[in-house]
Symmetry: C2
Subunit: 297 residues, 2 copies
C-alpha cells in the first residue's frame, strides 16, 4: 500500500466514524427514509471527494475537523446523485459497491425520497454555523448549488448523458467532454474550490486548485472507463462493461484503450504542474493524482 | 371575485412574469431538463406560497420585488415536490392542473432530473446577494432545508404518507396530523416565517406568523380533502377521488365531511386570532385564511 493509499484509508476511517453522527434515529415511521439515506451514504466508497476537500483546505492550515461539515455535505450530495442515477428510469443498476442499490434494498419510492433528502441535507449542513464564517458558508452554498445544478452542473451533465445514449450525433468527442465536465468534474472541482474557500485562499491559489481539479476530474472519468473494460468485477463491486452494453459513449469506445491511457497520463502531469506554487505541502495532492490514474478499483 | 381573489390574481400575474426570467435558455442538449423544469413551474398554480411570503413580508414594509427571490425559491421547491410526488413509483399521477404531469409530458428520467434541478435551484436562488443580507440568507437556507428535509420536514412527511397507505395501524388520527404537518404545513410555515425573516421581525411577530401558518396549513390540507370529495373535475384539473380510491387516510375519511368542515372553520378562526397584533395591515392575511376554507378549486 502506497503512502497516499494509507492516508486516504486513514482519513476515510475517521470520516466514516464522524459521518455516523449526521444520522440521528428518528422515532416515527418516517425513519425509513433516514435509514435509506444512511444505508447509501455509509456504504463504503473511497471518500475521495471529502479527502480532496480536506487536502486542499489543509494547504491553508485548516484541520480535518474544521473541514468536516463541508466534506460531509459534499458526500451527501454525491450519494444522492448515485441513488437517483441507479433508479430504474435512469441507469437501472442493481449493484453499487458490492451491495444492492438503494431502490433494490428498500423500494423505488423510498430511494427517490432518500435522494431528495440527501440533496436537501447537503445544504442544511452547509448552512450550519460550525461549517465556516457567514461569508464562506454563503459562497460554499452558491458554488455547490451551481455545480450540482441543472444549468451547467451535475444535473445538466446527467441529462446530456441520457441524450448521448439515444443519439447518433457525429460529434461525440465534444459531447463526451461536456458530459464528463458537468457530471463528474463539477463536484471534484467543488471539492478543491471548497478547500480554497475554507482556507480563505488568494485568487491565484484558488485558480491553481481549480486547474488541478479539472485535470484529475477528467483523469478520474477516463480511468473509470478504462476500469469498466479492464477491471475485475470483484474489485469494482458493480456490474461491469455495462456502459458498453448500453451503447454509452466512453473515452475508451471513442479513442481506444491506448490513446485513452495516454490522455489520462497527460492530464495527470498537468494536475501536478498546477500545484507547483504550493511546494512540498501539496505532496498529498500530487500523490492523489498518481493514485487516480493507477487505481484498479 | 372577492378582494383577496383579485389581490392573489394580480400578484400571481406579476409573479409569473418575473418567474420566466429565472429560466434562461441553455444552448446544449441538456436544455431538455430546463424545459421540463420550466414546464412544471410555469404550469399555473395559485402561487399561494409566494403570495404568503410577500404578504407576511409586507407587514414589515418589504416590497414584492424585495421578496421575489425568496418567493421564487419556495415555488421552485414546491414544484420539485409535485414532480417527484407524481412519479409512477410515488402517486403515479398523469394530470396536474389540467395538463400532463412532468413525466408524462417528458419522460420519467427527465422528470426525476427536473425535480432534482428545481430543488438545487431553490438554494442557488436563496444564496444570491439580492435575496437578502448575508445573515438573513443563511437563516432562510437553514430554515428551508430543515422544512423541506427528511428528518422532520416535507420529505419525512411524504415517507410517512407512503407508510400510511400500506398500514392498518389503529392510530390513524395521530398519523394524519403528523403527515399534514410535515408534508404540507412545513412549506406554508416556511413561507410565513420567511416573510418575518426578510422583514427582520421581532420574535413575537415571528411567532404570531408561525401560529397563523400552522392554522392555515392545516385548513389547506383539510379543504383539499373536502375538495377531493366535493370538487368538480374541471375546476380541480386533476384526477378526483383518487386519494379515496387508493385507500389514503384523509381528514374526510377519518372524521366525515361535517366534522372536517367544522375543524377547518375552527382553525380559520385561530389563524385570524393569531394576527390580532398586526391590526389592519394584516387584512390580506385574514382574507386569505377565509379564502383557503371557501375555495372551490
Amino acid at each position: 500500500m502506497t503512502d497516499i493509499q494509507s492516508a486516504l484509508k486513514e482519513y476515510s476511517a475517521w470520516f466514516n466514524s464522524k459521518l455516523e453522527d449526521f444520522f440521528p434515529f428518528p422515532d416515527g415511521q418516517e425513519k425509513r427514509v433516514v435509514e435509506a439515506m444512511r444505508y447509501s451514504v455509509m456504504n463504503g466508497g473511497k471518500r475521495l471527494r471529502p479527502f480532496l476537500v480536506y487536502s486542499c483546505a489543509s494547504l491553508f492550515s485548516i484541520s480535518r475537523e474544521q473541514s468536516l461539515n463541508t466534506a460531509a455535505a459534499l458526500e451527501m450530495l454525491h450519494s444522492y446523485s448515485l441513488i437517483h442515477d441507479d433508479l430504474p428510469a435512469m441507469d437501472n443498476d442493481t449493484l453499487r459497491r458490492g451491495l444492492p442499490t438503494c431502490h433494490c434494498q428498500f423500494d423505488e419510492a423510498t430511494a427517490i425520497l432518500a435522494g431528495d433528502g440527501l440533496l436537501t441535507y447537503a445544504f442544511e449542513i452547509l448552512s450550519r454555523p460550525q461549517t465556516a464564517d457567514e461569508k464562506s458558508r454563503l459562497e460554499l452554498i452558491a458554488l455547490l448549488s451551481r455545480d450540482a445544478g441543472a444549468f451547467c452542473g451535475m444535473v445538466a451533465g446527467q441529462m446530456l448523458d441520457l441524450y448521448a445514449e439515444n443519439t447518433q450525433e457525429p460529434d461525440k468527442n465534444l459531447l463526451i467532454q461536456r458530459i464528463e465536465t458537468m457530471k463528474t468534474g463539477c463536484l471534484i472541482r467543488f471539492a478543491c474550490e471548497a478547500g480554497a474557500i475554507l482556507g480563505h485562499a488568494d485568487n491565484s491559489s484558488r485558480q491553481a486548485l481549480v486547474s488541478y481539479a479539472r485535470a484529475i476530474g477528467q483523469t478520474f472519468q477516463i480511468s473509470d472507463d478504462i476500469l469498466d473494460v479492464e477491471g475485475s468485477r470483484e474489485l469494482m463491486g458493480k456490474t461491469l462493461q455495462k456502459d458498453q452494453g448500453q451503447g454509452k459513449v466512453t473515452f475508451v469506445s471513442l479513442y481506444g484503450l491506448d490513446k485513452a491511457k495516454a490522455i489520462a497520463q497527460e492530464l495527470t502531469d498537468q494536475a501536478k504542474e498546477a500545484l507547483s506554487g504550493f511546494g512540498p505541502n501539496a505532496e498529498n495532492l500530487r500523490n492523489l493524482a498518481d493514485f487516480i490514474i493507477s487505481r484498479n478499483h
